[in-house]
């Protein structure tokens, strides 16, 4: 979560420009009129709080995503771009499918980021369903690639349901994500044999409703929650009540507040997760 401007800061051109610059590159373009329409959904007295919510959004752009992937890979023990210097076999695998995409969009970003786009590297990139046949063993490394982990619950379930069986012969397994909460890192650590590595760790201060989030007063949080309930009565604090204010350039995680990403009868999102 970013530090918002002061409570008295006006909603003026400079602030709009700041938001537009920060959110540039979101998959569904963020324009001034969209921000205005989004703000108008709040009552007059709540608009300054809503503006501070926008100030606080942690937007991770395309370039940052690529940088984080590149740094994470370089930090892995045993990895070397040169196959001869690499320890054991390495496999990069898409962890999940992406809405309306072929299922390996994050792996594509990863390949671009790490410069492994030529055919020469093709054998490093495999499908989930290849893993049983390839039988990676204790000397080998499997890197599952995803964008975000909110609670680690899905990763833990997926490990029990599928991946433990696909990776039965005990390779080193990493789940590589751009960003994850501290809760997710611990859950994956405790419940699976994967190690979650991420570019940005979000601790309790990133939970808008947590007492550790000091940028907003409790009364302000209550007011914002009212609008969150309008947007999503079922998950007013985001999926698993994570209360995040994080947006990735290609998609807003559903662990973020629904006022950011949920389109419903009562609400129009600024960072919709589904778009035409």
């Amino acid at each position: 979560m970013q530090k918002p401007l002061g409570r008295e800061a006006p909603i003026n051109n400079a602030r709009y420009n700041r938001w537009l610059a920060a959110f540039s590159g979101y998959v569904s373009e963020v324009t001034r009129s969209k921000v205005e329409l989004w703000l108008e959904q709040f009552g007059e007295p709540e608009r300054p709080i809503a503006a501070r919510v926008l100030d606080s959004v942690l937007f991770i752009g395309h370039q940052q995503i690529k940088t984080k992937y590149r740094e994470l890979l370089l930090g892995l023990s045993g990895w070397n771009q040169d196959a001869i210097k690499r320890k054991g076999r390495w496999f990069f695998v898409p962890f999940s499918s992406s809405v309306g995409e072929s299922g390996d969009s994050m792996v594509h970003v990863f390949r671009m980021a790490t410069g492994m786009t030529t055919r020469h590297y093709n054998n490093l990139f495999v499908h989930r369903s290849d893993l049983v046949r390839l039988r990676p063993g204790p000397e080998d490394t499997v890197v599952l690639i995803d964008d975000f982990s909110g609670t680690g619950r899905q990763a833990s379930t997926a490990w029990d349901d599928t991946f433990a069986e696909l990776l039965a012969e005990g390779p080193q397994v990493y789940l590589m994500v751009v960003a994850a909460t501290e809760v997710a890192v611990n859950a994956v650590q405790n419940n699976t044999e994967m190690q979650l590595i991420c570019g940005t760790i979000l601790d309790h201060r990133h939970d808008f409703f947590s007492d550790k989030c000091k940028f907003f007063a409790n009364s302000e949080k209550t007011k914002i929650e009212h609008y969150c309930k309008l947007a999503s009565p079922r998950n007013p604090r985001g999926s698993d009540a994570s209360g995040l204010l994080v947006v990735l350039a290609h998609r807003c995680p559903n662990n973020s507040l629904p006022i950011l990403h949920t389109n419903s009868q009562n609400w129009s999102a600024l960072f919709p997760r589904q778009f035409d």
Partner: protein
């Protein structure tokens, strides 16, 4: 081909091992236990301890004990805080032995995703160099029908197999979708249509299945599609079907009913009627008049049938 008998692993000995030193067998972690029987087992272990030792092996590579049989007992022992459990240590099994043992111990549950099982079956087929359904069924303890279903899933490209392994349950495609689609995309005539490209058709069917217009409501709708294909084939209407099927595939809002070629359907219905009438003919030809002479209802029913048949023939101008 390795037989089931050769899969037996020799016992090294019975001893006690710290409960925390054991790990479940990763070759089959999808073990879902019913809560109630687990509670009964827990109560029993609390009362008398573990009477039947667990079967374990020592994984030399990872230097740890792995449970081959007895995961329920181990789960209960862990839950109630037993420090040690009795085990029967056996030799580390080969990959094939291990997979086969897991198949034999743990019955496949209906609610399990089939794709991971299919991949294990694929590995077995490759290791044993044997694709025979009956022998694989005997070896694994799976039904032959399950082996067939697994093979159908394995016929799809890795890209589609991955869709059945998605960690997100909402994104994960059910194996049944691909199993029901299989007869449609493997129909010889359909595959011969000049526009047919398997990957494209599968992707379009997935799109239709998830689209709000719900032109495919359930996976069993593919049976209807197959039925329309069969009817068109019988009525020699494949050219017409080809263009209709192409439109059905490519246009998300086109419903299955678009595939219905009236003449083909009528022809199929007529064939079914002829079959039924032939059965009645056979019955009547063999009718023993003396035996049923007093059965007035039977004769009345036959008279009604004659009357009805004459009326239909007359209406169709078919009476001679």
């Amino acid at each position: 081909m390795a037989s089931a008998q050769k899969m037996t692993t020799p016992t090294i000995g019975v001893k006690k091992i710290k409960t925390n030193d054991l790990v479940p067998n990763p070759h089959n972690p999808r073990i879902l236990f019913d809560r109630e029987p687990m509670d009964i087992l827990k109560a029993s272990i609390k009362r008398v301890g573990i009477l039947v030792p667990l079967t374990v092996y020592f994984d030399k590579k990872k230097k740890r004990y792995v449970i081959l049989d007895g995961q329920r007992r181990w789960t209960c022992a862990s839950a109630i805080g037993l420090d040690e459990v009795p085990v029967n240590q056996v030799d580390e099994p080969s990959l094939v032995q291990n997979i086969v043992t897991m198949f034999q111990i743990h019955k496949l549950r209906e609610d399990w995703e089939l794709m991971p099982t299919a991949l294990k079956v694929e590995l077995l087929m490759s290791e044993l160099n044997d694709r025979n359904d009956a022998r694989l069924a005997e070896l694994t303890g799976l039904d032959e029908a399950v082996i067939t279903r697994c093979k159908k899933l394995l016929s799809y490209s890795r890209e589609f197999q991955d869709r059945m392994l998605d960690p997100d349950p909402e994104m994960r495609m059910k194996a049944d979708f691909f199993i029901e689609l299989y007869p449609v995309i493997h129909d010889r005539e359909v595959r011969a249509f000049d526009w047919f490209k398997e990957k494209h058709v599968i992707n379009k069917m997935i799109e239709k299945y998830f689209d709000e217009s719900k032109t495919i409501k359930s996976v069993t709708d593919f049976r209807l599609v197959k039925q329309h294909i069969t009817h068109a084939k019988r009525a020699n209407q494949l050219t017409k079907l080809s263009s209709r099927l192409e439109r059905f595939v490519n246009e998300i809002s086109v419903p299955i009913s678009h595939l219905e070629i009236q003449s083909a359907t009528v022809h199929a219905e007529a064939k079914a009627l002829v079959k039924k009438i032939s059965a009645v003919e056979d019955l009547l030809a063999e009718l023993d008049i003396e035996k049923f002479y007093g059965e007035e209802d039977l004769w009345q029913s036959m008279m009604r049938l004659v009357k009805l048949m004459n009326a239909k023939l007359k209406a169709a101008d078919k009476r001679r």
